[in-house]
Symmetry: D5
Subunit: 132 residues, 10 copies
């Protein structure tokens, strides 16, 4: 399962001024849930049913006292690689994990998933309100 | 005729938080009404008059208690394939069918139809108000 | 001169719900006025002065009780082909003719004219207010 | 099954000079074979297994004594709409049908099929040699 | 009918060196032949059957002793505006008229016609051989 | 120096309805001021210091009683060709000259200048308020 | 390690005519070798060192007696997901595995890998010679 | 360390009218902090740990009494070249230095940093409120 | 008239190996000849007839013993700014001037001129043969 | 000065088959030579004259017994960061250094340098002949 304990922060160097940070990666991958049941990495289900999903993950936030450390965010996103999980949960889960650790003023997460069966899906979720 | 009974849902995993889901497919096709009369699949009119129409269908919504299941949406959109139906009805009909089954907070449907006689048409229709 | 009598309508299949229809064609052509005097098709001035103009015409509207029939719109737009007419009049005239026949809730017309003398012109005009 | 009898030709207006004609449509659709068995339109299999395929079909040729009539080509391509047929056969079949009717100097057919399972396929096949 | 007598030339300022001139316009328009019969401008058939065609015309050549004067080429291309004529004839005719007047070392003409019935056509024809 | 006396107008054919006109040209050129001193065309400084500047000029306005005549605008913009003038003054000056002659309801002018020293500059200035 | 036993074929429906098949997927992922040592899926090294790699894989071939079955190709490409392997080996290995099973007339494989350390890599390898 | 003393200004030629100036350069480069410790140019750390970062810097402002001189801005941005500094500090620092020297009505600075570890970052920060 | 005496060279640092240098500028401008008569800068004809032309100039060459100095090439291209000259002569003249001064192994010059009267022109001319 | 001793190789895993490797980075930067004199990193000339240059470096090769290690290539390209060096030398020097260490069958290096004074330069140089 995703490992939020991998996320690290550093002190926001300009905590008194609202500003926006945007981060994006086209390299997110997880697995489809098998038979609608979400799975974790303990047993590698790949090739026995859980087909890979691919997405671009976009994150916008206004930092409070902390900024997320980029390398730790990368490791955290890698930790979804071998779990079976729904699109809607992926995006809400990333928001929840980041909000808990980074305590931002405002944050938006978007998952732009590759075409499956001719259909493309994009999920967007937001936390808090922008100050800037 | 379109078969809304094909549409399936699953429980929204984050029902307490408003968020947005966007789905798009460039693979929608139906037929022109013949002599302005809408037809259904019982008799295959193709080649006796009803020329094929092609469109990209875009759907945005904020889920309430339910999310639409992607595979069932694909099957539902396929069910327009051999019916004669106006552009305006296609888009309003998809909205109506989805709203009835998915009961979203807010939904928008857009049909972006291919050029006919040098003219391109896009129809957009909305239901409810965004909370997020 | 433009022939608005070519425009036809059909009953809006969803008259109770405000929604938006967009139509566009890159195939509009008319002539320059000769010596600033607008001319009509009775005498074909082509090559004796009135140079051809080319434009993309974009139309957005929210239908009331009626929708414009696509084929009739195409024929109406063709009827500008051999008249000498200013850009500003083309776009305002299309709006006036369509508003009279279609009686929309709201309508916007845009003419995006090709480069002349290194300068490109776009004219935009609107009628009424959006309900949706 | 595809209906090559729909194809019509007209005499090449410049038969003494080799030249190239290119035609393309993004509006080709057929069905997947069910269980690997190709099906025809007599029985509409749609929704009982044969999923729709979508492709852009590109055709290049050097005419001999005849040119293919555009409207008849459109009708011929529509006739694949409700048959179950492999990608490889679609493209080779179109080439064979056109070569038989149009008797070109040279012809190339390309089918650019939409993504399925994350994979896109393009098939290209050629007949004869270019003179020009 | 097209008026090749509008074409003018000027002496090639560098006649001893082979070089290439390319000219292109997206503003070509003519009419469909009515009932397959080609028509001329004497009687304006527009709106009684002959639908407008639109194309981009591309011309490449290596000049011999003469270059085509740009403004005269524009007038010549305008002269197709109200004639009913097939795509294949448009492109071959432009080549023939230009070759007769300009006597180039080599010339290629391409007509890239707008989508009709979901199908796009491009015709390419060549005269002579490149020296450069 | 720029010659606003070149600007001509014609009566707005639809003076009772607010609408928007946009004009753009990628063909604006002037010179850098030499040693920070603005120069005029009386003495052609080119090559003795004043390097050429290039810009795209974009103009939006809502006409009042008058519209600017396109050809006269082109001539006016040409009149900057051999003067040394700062970016900020170019854009404000064009706005001032046009507002004086055209007396629009609202006008915006934008100068999008080519890269110099790895830096690109865009200046935007506005007059009045939109009615439409 | 990659599992070529997943690859399946079907008989080429047009074995007597050389033609080209192109397939592409942007959804290839494998792992970096750890300390330069290639690893396999038996032990999931992810997060203990082997960072994920992402690539688009492009495959062109001229079939002989057999065509590769698309779904089986997808499964085969998935089987690299949790192995540590060099770019150069990925691309050559895919070519070798496909050539052994599909026995094509000609085949080209290209791996277009995502940026790492500001550097992008593309590897291309070919087998046999084109007949068509 | 960055050298704000390089920044120069000139008097705003139109101080009474609010307008917007935008400047952008894709040629910003600095170094990563080593071990999270920011470094300055006194000792060139390059190749002993501090990897180069690359960004596009976008600046928007409404001038007050002064405009920033373009060449001096370029020199100021060059002065980050050999310092180790965090993304968040780069963007906030540029804003602070410019605000101090240029005293604008409003200013926005955006740093669009190249991909690192598959992740791209964009930082945006603003000062004051727009008048125009 | 163009001033080839502005062109400077520096010794090719790798004279023993054939290699290619490409240079391009979108900032070329000259004037139309007035009444077909080419003019020079002695009298500034601007606004009395000679309309500005704009082009992108592309230059490819394989150096012999000398390379053209970039700044001097820029000054040379500026020297066309106020002369009336035909497109065909511009491109051939640049080739001739550069060949005389730089004595390259091979050189190609292309002038891509902006649209005039709806027509775009590109002229390409070459000298010598590539060794590499 | 550039440090070729940073370049490392690993054994080509498929030495018996010719294949192509392409690598590209948009993150190359060096300095202009000051007064035409090439400088090295011993003394940091930045801001006393040597303006930064920026380029995309593209490298294609067919490996022999060795492949260049990606991380070492990145470090080698970083080593140009603070030296004053001509474009022509940059590209030829990278080729020479890589050929000496990697001993490829064939190699091409291209430097695509950012616009300076409105002019963009691209240098391409090649070593050996392709086998594949």
């Amino acid at each position: 399962m995703p490992r939020p304990e991998l996320l690290e922060t550093f002190p926001n160097p300009y905590p008194d001024r609202p500003y926006e940070i945007f981060m994006t990666t086209p390299e997110f991958t997880s697995l489809c849930p098998i038979g609608g049941i979400e799975t974790d990495a303990a047993e590698l289900k790949l090739l026995e049913g859980g087909a890979p999903d691919f997405a671009t993950i976009n994150i916008w936030y206004e930092p409070g006292a902390k900024c997320v450390e980029l390398k730790s965010l990368k490791l955290y996103l890698w930790s979804f690689r071998n779990d079976g999980i729904f699109y809607e949960r992926v995006v809400n889960r990333i928001l929840d994990d980041l909000v808990r650790v980074v305590e931002p003023q405002w944050m938006k997460v978007e998952g732009d998933f590759n075409v499956r069966g001719g259909l493309k899906s994009i999920i967007r979720v937001e936390h808090g309100r922008r100050a800037g």
